[in-house]
């Protein structure tokens, strides 16, 4: 019992994600006890000290979106449940699986591990924003995924696709191994990595031609 109590106290006082990040940074593993018995204390908080205005303007997929955001709300929650952008998936909600990967100012981030308030004034791109706004043409990465037959259940696909897009922003000519590194923050449990890497390589080729 003692262990459970300790963690409850801990969680009430520390933002959960800061806690997880701290643990990761320290190289330790996240305790198993923390989640099942987690207290709603933090999540249920209606206002935090120094909390900010709730009605915020976000720039998502090139559009201004006004949205009512709780102080502790994550970007993934806002995208999925407030803005209807359900292409961004939640597989773990704690920075482990990468299904919620989005681009913020063209850099990949886990949507579950950022507060929505952190992205004010920044450009958020989700899977729904990849197609060409004028022509509707697929992004080279999406086209490559279709051509290579990548993904099975595809629940992880939006996250992987966003990671591929982010990778190509910084490394337009990846080797297969570099692509594997760039995509190692995303998990695919169907084990479709061969075809995902094929897609990444083809996407790079397509992007270069474009």
């Amino acid at each position: 019992m003692a262990e459970v109590e300790v963690i409850r106290v801990f969680e009430r006082n520390v933002p959960r994600r800061s806690f997880i990040k701290g643990v990761i940074a320290a190289g330790a593993s996240v305790s198993s006890a923390g989640y099942l018995f987690r207290s709603p204390g933090l999540l249920a908080a209606t206002s935090l000290q120094g909390s900010t205005e709730r009605l915020v303007t976000l720039r998502v997929n090139g559009q201004q979106r006004r949205v009512d955001v709780l102080p502790q709300e994550t970007l993934a929650m806002t995208l999925r449940y407030k803005l209807g952008l359900t292409g961004t998936k939640l597989g773990c909600d704690r920075a482990e699986c990468g299904a919620c990967t989005v681009l913020i100012d063209n850099v990949t981030h886990y949507g579950c591990s950022m507060f929505t308030h952190q992205v004010r004034g920044r450009e958020v791109t989700t899977i729904e924003g990849l197609e060409d706004a004028d022509t509707g043409a697929l992004h080279p990465v999406q086209q490559a995924v279709l051509e290579e037959g990548g993904f099975q259940c595809a629940f992880c696909a939006p996250g992987f696709i966003m990671s591929m897009v982010g990778m190509l922003e910084t490394n337009p000519n990846p080797t297969r191994e570099e692509a594997a590194h760039a995509l190692s923050g995303n998990l695919c449990r169907c084990g479709d990595y061969q075809k995902i890497l094929n897609s990444a390589m083809r996407a790079a080729e397509r992007a270069r031609m474009a």
Binding site: V30, P40, G87, D93, C97, A154, F155
Partner: protein, 869 residues
């Protein structure tokens, strides 16, 4: 059934893009949690902090009083035991009188949002009386009853911790063991692993009261306006709450074990009026219950929702959106599905529950830990003589599929090698941990590991190359196994040859430097089971096809699309048979209100059964169309072909018409054009002994793996460089999807071999029974960086009964991956791995033992390599 040759097939056998591929690559594909409904509430489940305890009382009054909470349900609201196997209904949607693992559901709350629901869970007071718990299966099987068993014993004097015992013997095991030239005997341990689909379980319940005849029947029959949408804005105040769904059965709740017995008998003998109708009584809840769920088994969910929530099965609708991975982890009803139903019935509002990632780990139903002892004998020429297995299965808190798992632990070993004498003695016990169930390669992955390692040992002892050894023991095609399973097509030898050649085996085996090794293993698996989970004579799979005068064909399919591509399969078949482009096919799937029944995506049954059902329907339609065209042209029906979007006259193909016109001719003649098709399995091919039906399949797939590894002799780190997997899938209907299944299987086996383990803390390391690592950080699954190069080699044996000759590809290719890696480690450093996973510490210990024993090093090359049989 004779099949068309490859050249006569236009779409079948060629890689087709998935019909939902575009939706999946643009984020438009809809999974359960992507759905939302007006007025929808969010549910959360309170879970037990104790591994084993009596529930003395549950007080939900404070939770109910919390603003924003709409309803709370407990075990007393649904005291009807259920279980996926009709003979072992031993669990409740929420625990009634006892909790049996840390994480067992006790109460569920529906509230305006998740935060409020979580806050309400904190306000539920549960009084427990803690009981001694069993964590070690050996303790569980040896229990004398001095402390309470995990489940009540079936008969006085029996051990209630035992789920199932199976002991079967074929041939004279002892005599042939005694006469064997070589016998090897070892203990093996297979650690439990879990599925971890990336999509967590999710379900939404909706209750539409019967406004005509709802009053007095316990439904929320008087909701103002009868409209969920209109009512959603009222914030709960005017909702008329129905009686708890299970109230009719409340009398049974005083003694949960009494309640267990009677429905078991009832569901084993379904009445003629419909399998799920409660026997002898009409359901009391009038109205319509709809449940959306990320399930692999909408039909079984449908049945159990009806039974447990006491709603006529004709009033239950299960909708299955796309499923984000399953692997066996969503192949039975889970607490959340009953809870959303009960909470929706109680509140009149849609209710959604989404598991947290941690809850997915506790829901589990993954691979059983197996403690195995194998003894195998062969003669001087390497011919297998006798196999003797004793297995203890650690089942966790509930039966789940355990009865089948116990049989599968022995039944599926008898191919691809001829075994003259075989005995297995398997016992599945309960322990106070999350329940184990089916995971990709249900019940037969663990014994395959042990057995294939033993074969490697035997080959070495008789001086044979292990591939040659396996060849010598090939069982053949169109034969019976020692346990009377009927083998039809069998491409195992081709599989062996394919991996031997592709891997460069002959240059590598025993020939690479110390620290580098190569290993082989083989296996078989079922293409569905001949007997469904509940006994019935109805088809296992059915589809309905409808032709529109526009040229479009609609396929109504009850099959479960979990990523394997069954929607694309039926589209391909419709297009192939009716001569239309594949994008003229619409597949409408996964809704029990308008699709025929398919039993689900498990046992590798979908391609075989759904495929045959789709062919049946499409050919009926094709005949109507061809006959109409032939009459119109005044030619013979046999001379008309539907292909490439046209009806063609074969003797002179310049005589043609667009297929749409052909459809119009047929519609004018017959009225609306529709056909149903179905497939049922052969019921006359199985063993004539108790349990002889379990493992009987219409066709078996075969696989061979070769793995190449590097082992660091100082640290024990194993690096799998490459895996070659050859799989006999009958005919590859869509090769790119078959490859995906093969690679996914090899990947999953690789993960289990090297890193995965679903384990629990003991009292010395925290709370006993607490999951050790319910997160994707600590429960390590391979990433793109970890996964080795996988080469898929498709072998096509063209099965006589499979659709166009196809067999399964989804689970079989996993089996040999683990023993192939174990055997490769041996080739690399001379260390036999007998326990999973082959993690660095474990291999390092093996290296140390070998060092002490002087066996560390490259094993000797076989003395008789290449000897002809």
């Amino acid at each position: 059934m004779s099949h068309k040759s490859k050249s006569d097939l236009r779409l079948i056998g060629k890689s087709q893009r998935k019909i939902e591929g575009l939706a999946k690559s643009t984020g438009r594909a809809v999974y359960t949690d992507d759905l939302a409904f007006p007025g929808m509430l969010h549910g959360k489940i309170l879970r037990s902090p104790h591994p084993h305890a009596r529930i003395l009382s549950v007080d939900v009054s404070k939770a109910e009083a919390l603003p924003g909470v709409h309803a709370v349900v407990t075990g007393a609201d649904m005291p009807v035991p259920y279980g996926i196997i009709p003979w072992t209904p031993d669990e409740y949607p929420l625990c009634v009188d006892r909790v049996r693992y840390i994480g067992d559901g006790v109460a569920a709350v529906a509230a305006v949002d998740e935060d409020t629901a979580l806050a309400a869970l904190e306000l539920i007071d549960v009084e427990y009386e803690e009981l001694p718990a069993f964590f070690d299966p050996v303790d569980a099987v040896e229990a004398d009853g001095s402390t309470p068993f995990i489940h009540d014993a079936k008969k006085p004097g029996w051990n209630g911790n035992v789920t199932k015992k199976v002991k079967l013997e074929f041939g004279d095991v002892e005599e042939l063991m005694d006469s064997s030239a070589v016998v090897v005997e070892d203990d093996y341990f297979f650690e439990g692993t879990t599925h971890t689909p990336i999509e967590p379980h999710c379900a939404i319940g909706m209750w539409e009261p019967d406004v005509v005849d709802g009053a007095g029947h316990g439904g929320a029959g008087t909701v103002v306006g009868g409209s969920i949408a209109a009512e959603g804005a009222i914030e709960g105040s005017s909702i008329v709450r129905g009686s708890p769904p299970g109230a009719r059965n409340a009398a049974a709740s005083a003694d949960g074990q009494t309640a267990t017995a009677s429905p078991a008998k009832a569901s084993a003998k379904p009445g003629p009026g419909g399998p799920a109708a409660p026997p002898g009584a009409e359901a009391t809840n009038r109205g319509k219950l709809t449940v959306w769920s990320a399930t692999q088994v909408p039909h079984y969910l449908h049945r159990e929702l009806s039974r447990v929530l006491d709603v006529d099965s004709a009033r239950v609708r299960v909708i299955q959106p796309l499923v984000g991975g399953a692997f066996g982890g969503k192949s039975e009803p889970f607490d959340l599905e009953f809870c959303v139903g009960a909470l929706a019935m109680k509140t009149g509002r849609p209710v959604k529950i989404l598991y947290t990632r941690e809850e997915v780990f506790y829901a589990h139903r993954g691979r059983h830990p197996f403690h195995m002892r194998y003894r195998t004998g062969c003669d001087q020429e390497g011919k297998l003589q006798s196999v003797d297995a004793k297995i203890l299965l650690d089942g966790g808190a509930y039966a789940s599929f355990g009865l089948v798992t116990t049989y599968y632990s022995g039944q599926l070993l008898c191919a691809p090698y001829a075994i003259p004498a075989y005995r297995f003695d398997s016992t599945r016990v309960y322990t106070n941990k999350p329940a184990c169930g089916p995971k990709r390669g249900h019940g037969s992955v663990q014994p395959r590991f042990a057995f294939e390692v033993q074969l490697d040992r035997l080959a070495e002892r008789v001086g044979l190359d292990p591939i040659e050894f396996r060849r010598r023991n090939f069982i053949g095609e169109h034969t019976r196994t020692i346990n009377e399973l009927r083998i039809t097509s069998n491409g195992f030898l081709e599989c062996l040859e394919a991996v031997e050649r592709a891997s460069g085996w002959s240059k590598k085996f025993r020939a690479m430097p110390f620290g580098r090794g190569i290993g082989v293993a083989g296996s078989t698996y079922i293409s569905g089971t001949n007997y469904p989970i509940y006994p019935n004579e109805m088809p296992q799979s059915a589809v309905q096809m409808q032709i529109d005068r526009s040229g479009r064909v609609a396929v109504f399919s009850g099959a479960s699309e979990i990523g394997q591509g069954c929607d694309t399969l039926v589209a391909q078949i419709a297009a192939e048979e009716l001569g239309i482009p594949i994008d003229y096919v619409r597949v409408l799937r996964g809704d029990t209100d308008f699709t025929p029944v398919d039993l689900g995506a498990y046992s590798s049954r979908v391609t075989f059964m759904l495929g045959n059902a789709a062919i049946d329907a499409a050919r009926k339609l094709r005949k109507l169309v061809i006959d109409a065209v032939a009459d119109h042209w005044e030619v013979k029906s046999g001379e008309v072909l539907l292909a490439g979007g046209y009806a063609l006259w074969v003797p002179d193909t310049s005589r043609q018409m667009p297929v749409r016109e052909a459809f119009n001719l047929a519609e004018a003649r017959h009225g609306a054009l529709g056909a149903t098709g179905s497939y049922n399995t052969p019921k006359d091919v199985h063993g004539e002994y108790r349990g002889g039906t379990i493992g009987a399949s219409p066709a078996y797939s075969f696989t061979a793996h070769v793995a190449e590894v590097e082992v660091d002799p100082d640290t024990g780190v194993v690096h799998v460089k490459s895996i070659w997997v050859a799989h006999d899938c009958g005919r590859a209907l869509n090769p790119i999807l078959v490859e995906g299944q093969m690679e996914g299987s090899a990947y999953m086996g690789f993960g289990e071999a090297l890193m995965e383990q679903q384990i629990y803390k003991d009292a010395d390391h925290g709370r006993a029974g607490l999951h050790d690592a319910p997160s994707l950080l600590d429960y390590r699954i391979p990433t793109a960086l970890d996964t080795p190069e996988l080469e898929s080699l498709i072998v096509e044996s063209i099965d006589p009964e499979g659709p166009y000759g196809a067999k399964e590809a989804g689970e079989g290719p996993l089996h040999p991956s683990i023993p192939a890696i174990a055997n490769a480690i041996y080739d690399a450093v001379g260390v036999r791995m007998t326990r999973l996973p082959f993690s660095a510490p474990s291999v390092w210990r093996g290296l140390n033992v070998a060092r002490e024993n002087g066996t560390l090093g490259k094993p000797a090359a076989p003395s008789r390599q290449g000897v002809e049989v």
